[in-house]
Amino acid sequence: MTPDLSVALGRLRLRNPVMVAAGTFGYGLDYRDLVDLTQLGAIVTKSLTLAPRMGNPPPRVAETPAGMLNAIGLQNDGVEAFILETLPRLREYGTPIVASVAGETIEEYVQVAMKLSRAEGVAALELNLSCPNQARGGMEYGVHPELTAQVVAAVRQATDLPLIAKLSPNVGDITPIAQAAVQAGADILCLINTVLGVAVDARTRQFRLASKVGGLSGPAVKPIALYHLWRVRQSLPETPLIGVGGISSVDDALEFILLGAHAVQIGTANYVQPTLAQEVAQGLAAYLQENGIDSVTAIRGTVR
């Protein structure tokens, strides 16, 4: 018997729990020649802003031990280009499309969310709460419970789509923020976004990123992502969670699921192995089969 990989995150139903993470799979079509898009649980787009954004000056990326720093600066063609040019072709694959929503102001989040909600073929919205808040000197929205609640509540008003709040790990205690997001109307929580980090080039004696600070991702952050997931799982046992951070194998995905994630996202590892997400989905099925387990939900949260 083929094990059942389907999962329901509230109203968001996926054929398997393996998604690709925002900003690591382009707008969704870029890898269509290498990846079978129909095998993915869901595709999260690069974060979309109201107007096109040029992004940060280079260098924007630096490799670090088992990880990387990025400061792309939300370069994107804007939400309208996505809706007009990408969405019609992407939705033909039938794979749920999760649009990542970004903004520098709450109003911008709301505007982007409204446009995406009116478009055909968006399965859910994911709020990127790691955007720099202009009103507070560039601090991430997602590091404050109240700011998080404000963004989520405002977008909740503007859309009927399932709403995912993607949390920042750059906090002492993530649970009040998770709770604030859920109370403000988030249906699903996704965690983690990148961890703040710095790298210096000892030879040129300069920051490795033009923006100095960047976001750390990749295998290096996996223990941190699991830690935050586990804390949120305990504090909000009923909320569907999406685990992300450093996943690059079937075992990595299982770690998150065993700790209570309904689904997982693969980010940085797509760069190294574009086919990874579909292979992880297949590998999960194989794992369940070998262990005589008939559905992925049966092992969810069994490590406590």
Binding site: G23, T24, F25, G26, D30, Y31, D33, L34, K46, M54, G55, N56, P57, P58, P59, R60, V61, A62, E63, P65, A66, G67, M68, N70, I72, Q75, G218, P219, A220, S248, T268, N270, Y271, V272, Q273, P274, T275
Partner: protein, 267 residues
Amino acid sequence: MTRYELPAMVVEHRRRGANLYELILHAPPIAQGATPGQFVMLRPMRTHAPLWRRPYSILRANPDKGVFSILYSVQSAFTELLSLKPIGSTVQTLGPLGSYFQPVRSARRHILVAGGVGAPPLCFFAARLAPTLQSGEQILILEGARRADLLVGMDEFRALGAEVRVATDDGSKGYKGYVTSLLEMALNEPIESAVYACGPNRMLQAVAQLCTARGVPCQISLDAPMPCGTGVCLGCAVKVNTPDGGAWYKRACTEGPVFWAEEVVWE
């Protein structure tokens, strides 16, 4: 442009210099599809560190035999791993990727400017360009390095029978000074030229300025950190002029690595 993701088989490690190796890989679709200036992303082993694949320019490709090769030097863990791959084992390979050099058919002289490890794509370009030359068309190769023993791809260039002029920083071979001085001299010679360059970004900037000032068509292959090599991460941003007089970031891995010199904004 079709790209392939496949395990390429190691056919040979060929020593090409003090710390310079040619790696010959069997991967027919890539060998057949490769155009000079393009590159492949390699992954010798599944390791978490080094994490990224690395880009390597294609040095030569033999579509009939289904093999292509790259030239590299052992610098740190990644290239050490590459050098340890046994014959017959496979290296995960994605390619061919990126833009390529386009012969400027109006030019009488094609000047290829290679700085240090920038030589491989120009070797490939020269090899493909030479048989297509019309009478009166010629190739001039300008190659620079810090020292004579760091000159790369000399065998390939010599095999073509093209004119080669060399510059070394320390004068240990050829002209003592920068390859860009050789270029300046060559551009002063009265013959309609086009320039194709690859090397450190500083050198490319100088090449671009020399050519732009003289209205000489010039293509340059830029270096940038490349997490994905496939256009999805936007990490390899290169600032370019847009037709409306503004600027935007293009991807060195997808719209590049070869750009028209006048397009690039130097900061």
